[in-house]
């Protein structure tokens, strides 16, 4: 282990079935550690599956040697898929990334500002995004291939 992990403000969130904590990493001289290494450390510390641990918001302080971040440890994979926001699931590869471009959305937005009523809903629904049913199907396929420890 090339860095030290300190956890603070551990909170048991029963509503969302997870443990929330803030993480502090001390890595003198060395560069900031990667998310995967931090996930491994936390999983071993809290005796959880690595796939149920989510780390985000890692930021180094001025001068180096210290980074702070946040971590969430879910009870099961189902709760992770239910409560995690989609952009974090996309980072993990559970949901495939978006195809639509930024410019396309801006064009749609400018059209929406000029319309009202049924036309507005038509234009909004015709945009290129992942629909709810598609995301649900992707999550189900992922869960079928998931084997718990």
């Amino acid at each position: 282990m090339t860095f030290i992990v300190k956890t603070r403000k551990v909170l048991l969130n029963k509503v969302l079935n997870r443990r929330q904590l803030s993480v502090e990493l001390l890595h003198q001289i060395k560069p900031t550690p990667s998310q995967e290494s931090v996930v491994k450390e936390l999983a071993s510390k809290y005796k959880a599956d690595e796939r149920n641990v989510v780390v985000y918001g890692l930021r180094t302080t001025f001068g180096g040697n210290r980074t702070t971040g946040f971590a969430l440890i879910y009870d099961t994979q189902q709760y992770l898929l239910k409560f995690e926001p989609k952009f974090r699931l996309r980072r993990r590869g559970i949901i495939p990334k978006r195809d639509g471009s930024r410019k396309g959305w801006k064009e749609v937005k400018s059209k929406l500002k000029k319309t009202r009523g049924a036309e507005k809903t038509k234009i909004y629904m015709s945009r290129k995004t992942d629909k709810r049913e598609v995301i649900r199907a992707q999550k189900e396929t992922y869960l079928k291939g998931f084997v718990g420890k």
């Binding site: 929330q20 918001g57 001068g63």
Partner: protein, 299 residues
């Protein structure tokens, strides 16, 4: 069945007494209604009391009928039990509401008692008269009562010296200045003692450590931001002001000597030796109002 009838016969006088008392109370309420004045509140209270007693009487009568049916006939399906339940629930709710009206009911009962003692006429103005002020009590001079004590000396009123607001503020300022003086002295002595070499360990706060290692400590705004982020488990975006402040702080932290400026000057001279100076284009020679006219035409 016969055993039940005997119990009922024994208790029958009690029931009859109860019903007679309820009837008496209803009559008293009617009297109250006549005596009380025409204000809306008192009418409502009288109606409330009458409704309460009427429901109680009705409930008792229905109960008695139910008992008789049970004892004599045995056919309880025909008897409307729903009414009994409704009456009971009504009575419970009425009694709950009585707590809020208790004050006004007590007031009415007291008023009724006073009315019985006084004349039997309808008195609407009695309450207003009783609330009038007593003019006798207004002109009472306790200090200069020559009629009561003619031989007594004149006793002036007691006066105590008080400070004005400006004087009070001056006092506060003086105290603050004294505190500052003592703080400066203490800081001086502390710095002198810190410079001395002792075996005692020095106290370094987190701010001092940051200043030592990184050359600068956290501002109040940065501390607030950090606390907010940790409490809400989010990361806030960096603003332009923060970036500007960080750049300035980096420059301040990196400056070590004053001789660096000379080095930069020499380096710039060496680099720009062969290059020509580019002249900036001159501004328009128009002055004052002509400039505005030309600009308007160009638009």
């Amino acid at each position: 069945m016969s055993g039940g009838l005997t119990y009922f016969k024994e208790d029958f006088p009690v029931y009859s007494d109860l019903i007679s008392t309820i009837n008496d109370q209803l009559q008293s309420i009617d009297n109250l209604h006549v005596i009380t004045c025409t204000t809306e509140n008192k009418n409502n209270i009288a109606q409330y009391l009458r409704a309460k007693n009427a429901t109680m009487a009705k409930y008792l009568i229905h109960l008695n009928m139910y008992l008789l049916h049970k004892l004599n006939y045995g056919n309880l399906e025909e008897f409307p039990v729903d009414q009994l339940i409704e009456d009971k629930i009504l009575i419970q709710k009425i009694i709950q509401a009585q707590k809020k009206l208790q004050y006004s009911i007590d007031k009415l009962s007291k008023y009724q008692e006073t009315q019985i003692n006084e004349d039997d006429q309808v008195v609407d103005q009695v309450e207003k008269l009783t609330l009038k002020p007593r003019i006798e009590n207004l002109h009472k001079d306790e200090t200069n009562d020559k009629i009561n004590n003619p031989n007594q000396k004149y006793v002036p009123p007691k006066l105590a010296a008080t400070l004005s607001k400006s004087d009070l503020n001056k006092q506060k300022q003086e105290r603050r200045e004294e505190l500052r003086k003592t703080q400066r002295k203490a800081n001086l002595i502390k710095s002198i003692l810190d410079e001395q070499e002792t075996d005692k360990p020095k106290e370094m706060t987190e701010r001092d450590l940051q200043q030592l290692y990184y050359g600068r400590a956290e501002d109040e705004k940065q501390m607030e931001k950090r606390k907010y982020e940790e409490d809400h488990m989010t990361r806030l975006p960096t603003t332009r002001d923060e970036k500007r402040r960080e750049r300035i702080a980096e420059r301040k932290a990196n400056v070590t000597r004053l001789d660096d400026f000379q080095e930069f000057e020499t380096i710039n001279k060496v680099l720009n030796k062969g290059t020509k100076k580019i002249k900036k284009p001159q501004g328009s020679k128009l002055k004052g109002s002509m400039k505005k006219i030309v600009k308007r035409k160009r638009r």
